[in-house]
Amino acid sequence: MGPVAKTEVEAQLVDAGVHPLVRQANDLREYMKEPYKSMPFPGPERFYYPHPIGEHHPDAKPAQGLPGSDPDLLERQLFEANGVDFAVLLPLTRGLLPDAELGNAVAAATNEWLADTWLSKYNQHGRYRGTIRVNPMTPDQAAREIEKWAGHPYFVQVAVPMQSHHPYGQRQYHPIWEAAARHNLPVAIHADGGSSVDFWPTPAGYLTHFIEYSTFYPINFAFHLVSFMAEGVFDRFEQFKVVFADGAHDMLAPIVWRMDKDWRPTRHEMPWMKHMPNHYLKDHVLFLAHKLEGPSDPAIMAEWLAINEAGNTLLFASNYPQWDFNVPKGAFVDVPADMRRRIVLENARELYKLPATRSA
């Protein structure tokens, strides 16, 4: 008897934000070369603003290894229990380490590890996609890392940390966006760790408690967004797309309304920005949805999403295995079916070029 033909199932749900981990912190060293292999660097738990009841969801802890390290458990919880068809894996690194070369080594090892495990050995079913981590502290090296992995069939995007030493639109970062755009790879921006050489997390200095940090940190997207626009990154790299992966989509509209009104008076300072700010959103800017955002009253959720054009810009993400795990099968059930379909399936399929079906 020959091999059984695989049947295909139509995809209904894409989880655009899953954060896998190595089984144990030091496993990453297997993919590193000396001298970095033997150098200390921070582990996967947050250092500043640790979550008071634990970084990870208690159900996501496997019998052995760190949460998010066990593909069998992940698949039971995401694929089987929640109907996720494709998962986009976005491994977190440790932010901006003071030694940029060590940061490069950590990013490179993360990519080697992901390619060696989740995107090959664990990916017989072809349902995982991955993210190329790069260190923005050395933009030329970041561009080389993108070139290295751009042809890989399962890497679908690039990621850099939300925390930055300069706004990401500034010209020293352009080699990264140029390389990503050339390969049609979106760039995800996600807060990383919190154990690195960040500046103050807010323009008002250091906040005191976890909740203050977690409420405001995602809003940092706005600094990078206005910078991308005013430095002409979207004009210069027409294929460039950014995914703000910590959420905060709810804050986008008022910021852009304001920026729109300032554009005609101040355009002459940045003549390379050829269009009104809102013009760039549809082709260049997306957000991952986050469990903790959106109106508390489900009755106004549908209207809220329509005002914010979520049908074009929002992608569902569970954030597995974090404590704020957004249960996929319960997501956006209170909105009209066509809007839900855009958010939980079609926006991700278009952005990451996912097939319409996956293996059964």
């Binding site: 010209r171 210069r236 005609r264 008076p265 355009r267 940045m270 009104m276």
Partner: protein, 116 residues
């Protein structure tokens, strides 16, 4: 529509302007490099006295971070919010295009005449 004599051509040399009291808000007359233009003194954005704004040039970027100064004397910047209008067309140089009302203007027997 009526003809209005604005002034003699010698009184409105290149680079000069005059607001004439026609209608409630007036009409701004500009001489841009020897050609006359007439614009309603009301900005389409928020109703500012547009024709009192600065006559200037503007910037273009020929490449990222390569800025050139162009159209000197051809641009009118609204005094309230800085919107840039091309005097000759009455149109914003930014999109979506907004337009200030313009009027037919010509020279006859050494006089500047508008129809408004």
């Amino acid at each position: 529509m009526a003809r209005h004599v604005v002034c003699r051509v010698e009184e409105l040399p290149p680079g000069s302007r005059r607001i004439v009291p026609i209608g409630r808000r007036g009409i701004g007359i500009f001489n841009v490099n020897g050609t006359y233009h007439a614009l309603h003194n009301v900005c389409p954005h928020a109703g500012a006295p547009l024709c009192l704004g600065r006559v200037t040039g503007t910037t273009v970027a020929t490449a990222p971070y390569q800025v050139e100064w162009v159209q000197e004397g051809e641009i009118l910047r609204c005094p309230w919010h800085g919107w840039e209008f091309e005097i000759a067309s009455g149109e914003t140089i930014t999109e979506p295009v907004e337009r200030v009302q313009t009027y037919s203007i010509f020279v006859e027997d050494g006089q500047v005449i508008i129809e408004a």
